[in-house]
Amino acid sequence: MNKTFNIARFGKFFCMEFRQYKKLFLILAGVTLIDLVLSMASFARTYQMVTEVDNIEVLELNSTIANMVHQAKLGVSPIQFGGAFGILLLIVPFLMYNFVYHPTKSFTYSMLPASWLEKFASAWVMCVIAVPLMLFGFALLVAFIGDLLGAQVSYHTLNLNVFLKTIYLPTIIVQSVMFWGAFWFKRQKVGKTILTIAIVVIGLIILAWQMQDILRDLMNFLFGPPYSEAREQQLLIWLRIIPYALMTLLWSLALIKYPRTQI
């Protein structure tokens, strides 16, 4: 096992990669900061408007504007509209690991004395854990500074749990496709990844359309009659499981391909 995975060597490799990408992290931080400041500013403006003209009763209770006004009354939070978070998390694997099979760029990386598993684990931890945590850290920092400057910061929504559920999880599910693409294809990774996603999605739609009668029967058989509570429950469970399963499958596929890296 020591040949394949050694925690000290993995730690050393991860630290090396972290230091290597520090400039990229600064760029990520910069983009995130701009996005967060803009989000907070727009929220603060809404809050100001609401306090000036308190006519929320005019709005329908479930409308988007009513929700925004309600949120604004609670206070501003840098992660509520942190769109850049999602986009950044999504493209991180391509930004960092686009070179893995590159004939001239990957020489040093491939020849560094660490096992394929340590290198892969380092990439995974970097994309899936380190960068998101860092971005959340930036959000906290911006909120703290905003609070000091007198902004109405909502600490209620600014907690790790909310971040994990609302931003991290959906993004990381999609990001796993990009991660797989970065570690699977040799050249034209972005193009091939997008093309593969498109083909799979279109294929599934056509397949589902062709087999709609069979699928309907199958669902009735598996989950019970339509509109039943049992069926709703089952569907909810499946909808939770499938993204995790898909994510794990994609990471596993990337892992299987990685030791066969030839340059």
């Binding site: 040949k3 090396m16 230091r19 590159h102 001239t104 020849m111 004395p113 660490a114 096992s115």
Partner: protein, 277 residues
């Protein structure tokens, strides 16, 4: 130390680069790897370092299966490729990032090599000229003190004084525990340094012998006229350089360029003389 047995390799299924290649390399030598364009010199270096995988057969480096690229094997190898892209960082940062992965890395030696090559830490590596980048990688590679140093066309891009410095540094860094493999077309740059010589031919090894063994079997002489039994002749000032079988045990200095030309023009003869027993 490096043992290749019955190795097959191809990039495209119907175009084998190697089929049934056998080769054994021992420590304490500076091997010169020669061959025409496309015979697979770089491929061989990549197979030895585990960057490519044999389609059949065995390639073991330090008793490890090369394609597994175990860290224990990788920390004994430094590979200087012919083409590379260096990161946008300074030399000092490069050392901080990568040096700790090589247990025998010698920082003092690196400083010495950098000084000899006249490299400065003011610019980023990506802003260096091709020659300067090569000098940097050579310096770093020698400072790693790895047991196996593989270099693909190391003198390409080096200016004339630097080629001399390179020879000096390499000779100085060599010891009994190390092996250096240099793949090159610039044999004149490395004459008096490489020994033994490996000449690769499509699918086979034409020669894997020391300079001593070669000079016992072949002689390199300057004649006024072309000799009848010469394996290869080349016009020169005052006559013709001839490579001939050394039937009368004459001592002569091996000219690697002539040797190479003689080998590729007399493949069967070389195979009989050196490989087939």
């Amino acid at each position: 130390m490096i043992n290749i047995q019955d190795l097959n390799f191809h990039y495209k299924a119907n175009q084998p680069v190697y089929s049934g290649l056998n080769l054994e390399l021992h420590k304490g030598n500076i091997y010169g790897l020669l061959g025409e364009n496309g015979v697979g010199k770089t491929t061989l270096l990549k197979l030895i370092s585990g960057l490519l995988f044999p389609t059949k057969g065995q390639c073991s480096t330090f008793d490890f299966e090369a394609k597994k690229r175990y860290p224990e094997m990788l920390e004994k190898i430094y590979f200087l490729p012919e083409t590379y892209t260096l990161p946008k960082i300074k030399m000092s940062e490069y050392v901080k990032l990568y040096a700790s992965f090589y247990p025998k890395f010698d920082h003092n030696k690196l400083a010495e090599y950098v000084n000899i090559f006249g490299l400065s830490n003011t610019k980023k590596l990506s802003e260096f000229s091709h020659g300067q980048q090569k000098k940097w990688l050579l310096s770093f590679g020698l400072a790693t003190n790895t047991e196996l140093l593989m270099m693909d066309e190391p003198t390409n891009g080096l200016d004339i004084p630097s080629k001399g410095l390179f020879r000096q540094l390499l000779a100085g860094a060599m010891d009994d525990q190390k092996t250096i493999i240099i793949s090159t077309h610039q044999v004149r740059d490395l004459e008096n340094l490489i020994d033994p010589i490996i000449i690769l031919e499509y699918n086979q090894v034409l020669l894997n012998h020391s300079i001593d063994e070669i000079s016992q079997k072949l002689k390199f002489v300057l004649r006024e006229n072309q000799s009848q039994n010469a394996l290869y002749t080349e016009p020169a000032m005052g006559g013709f350089w001839c490579v001939e079988p050394n039937s009368d045990s004459v001592e002569s200095k091996v000219n690697i360029e002539l040797l190479f030309n003689a080998a590729v023009n007399n493949k069967e003869f070389f195979l009989k003389l050196f490989i087939q027993k």
